[in-house]
Amino acid sequence: MATTLRKNREIKIENKLNEEPVSKDNKVIYDTRGLNLWYGETQALKNIDLPIQENHVTAIIGPSGCGKSTYIKTLNRMVELVPSVRTTGEILYRGKNIFERSYRVEELRTRVGMVFQKPNPFPKSIFENVAYGPKVHGIRDKKILKDIVEKSLKGAAIWEEVKDRLNENAYGLSGGQQQRLCIARCLAIEPDVILMDEPTSALDPKSTLKVEELVQELKKNYSIVIVTHNMQQAARISDKTAFFLNGEVVEFDQTDRVFSTPQDLRTEDYITGRFG
């Protein structure tokens, strides 16, 4: 298995770390503590502890059905769209528990953007897609909107391809372009964290590459959590990797370590292709 080695991070984060870190560089932006989640009767997440660091790319890997999507959707409480969902434990976003009653989920989602597995642009023009978030948040000024749209499209590395057809329907774009458009849409509200759920799994190789490059680029300004079933991808782009299995975090460490010297036998089995 070809693992692309990444420059080593200075500080090794203990798995199941509980103390708040001090150095700016590894400030924990999202801290999951003892998270359990049930869909009705079936438990999808089991006692998850997972600190996510600022300006890092954290990859979540694991076989199908292990709870990757569920976890990432819990981070912005999107999982609650499923009516039967129940959670215990806490997730601290910048120190505040997002499950608290007074916590306004819309506010959370304004800070935390999300990109989905299948590109899901709105059936509107490219411009409207990107402008949707700012508009919702009350920005009406045409000029500002235009600036935001341009900036976001540039940030998502798609500006050149679409700048002449901003008023065309987003569904005229190719899958890869659509996905980058969705990233642009998410950048338009200037989030803090970007959650990505298998953002390249529906894309062709070339588009995949583009998105991967983009992720590397975005890391400078955003904290990124990315779910992927493609281990090579995780190895290529992430700083830290969490391996999920049956709703549990089996292993969480620096990416290179997870792929070179996995601590858990199950992790090894998985990355050597024994299952999945």
Binding site: N76, M78, P83, E106, R109, M114, F122, P123, G133
Partner: protein
């Protein structure tokens, strides 16, 4: 096993005959609907032509006086009936569209699964109530209640059956709109929600625009249902054939006219008798147009996603 299959060649031939004949039979069945349409057109067209031999086409569609039964000076103009139909339909639509649409929104976007499971069939009961019951209800309950509020309201009027017709088609509008909204993929809602949009913003800025073709189609179907509705107006709207916009007064719709004449005194061969065919033909063309419109709209405004 494969040998056994080979040996069954005999039955294979029988099978092949079945394969050949079945589609023919099915086609014949499918053609019944076409024959029905042809049948309707043929039943109506002959008598309609007879009618236009006696009454000028122009007068029928441009005059404003309908006095079919007058022994001295019968006059045939469909405009009062069209007016009655339009007025009651308009009222019905004004009731059904906002209530139906908001009901659909509530059920599809806000209600919990359990609430939807209970509420939806309850609302659909409204569609299952025979129209004759609604007619009765409009005449004996809604009109008297309205008369307390609107002093000039006549005991038979266009308002009350219009409202009741609107109530009747709420489920139609709600159901079809809800279907349209349900078929908007959740990924789109998620996309909007992930940007911090509230439910309301998701609904009005994403879901409804995406479902608009289905929603409009439901309105159009509601309208054609209202146009074709018979018993409610027959009972509650009276039989005055006035060409008027005054919805507080008795008006007659095309359908109610047909009931009046068929259950009344018209002798075959008289212009009155033929007039119901001309009216029915007009009604048929009306609803046909509405349906074509609905189809056109759903095609034209369908959002690609």
């Amino acid at each position: 096993m494969q040998d056994i299959i080979k040996n069954k060649k005999q039955s294979k031939n029988a099978l092949r005959i079945v394969e050949k004949t079945i589609p023919v039979l099915l086609f014949a069945a499918a053609f019944v609907s076409v024959i029905t349409t042809v049948g309707i057109v043929f039943t109506l067209i002959g008598e309609t032509i007879m009618f236009f031999r006696e009454v000028s086409f122009f007068e029928f569609y441009s005059g404003t006086v309908l006095r079919p039964l007058s022994p001295v000076d019968p006059q045939f103009s469909i405009l009062p009936l069209i007016m009655g139909t339009l007025m009651t339909t308009l009222i019905a639509v004004l009731v059904a569209v906002p209530i139906g649409l908001t009901t659909a929104i509530y059920l599809s976007e806000y209600a919990s699964k359990r609430a939807r499971k209970v509420l939806k069939p309850m609302i659909e009961v409204l569609a299952g109530i025979p129209t004759i019951v609604y007619g009765f209800f409009a005449f004996t309950f809604v009109t008297p209640v309205l008369r307390d509020v609107i002093p000039g309201l006549s005991a038979t009027n266009a308002l009350s059956p219009g409202i009741v017709m609107g109530i009747m088609i709420i489920p139609l509008v709600a159901s079809l709109s809800e279907d349209a909204m349900n078929s908007v993929p959740n990924s789109m809602r998620e996309g909007a929600m992930a940007l911090g949009a509230t439910q309301l913003e998701v609904t009005f800025r994403v879901v409804i625009p995406a479902a608009i073709s289905g929603i409009i189609a439901s309105f159009v179907l509601g309208i054609s249902r209202a146009i074709g509705e018979t018993m409610i107006v027959t009972i509650a709207s009276g039989s005055s054939k006035n060409f008027t916009f005054d919805i507080t007064q008795s008006m007659q719709t095309m359908t109610a006219y047909i009931v009046e004449v068929t259950s009344g005194d018209a002798a075959a061969g008289t212009p009155i008798y033929y007039s119901i065919y001309a009216v029915a033909m007009t009604l048929f063309v009306f609803t046909l147009t509405m349906n074509m419109l609905a189809r056109y709209i759903s095609k034209r405004f369908r959002e690609v996603y």
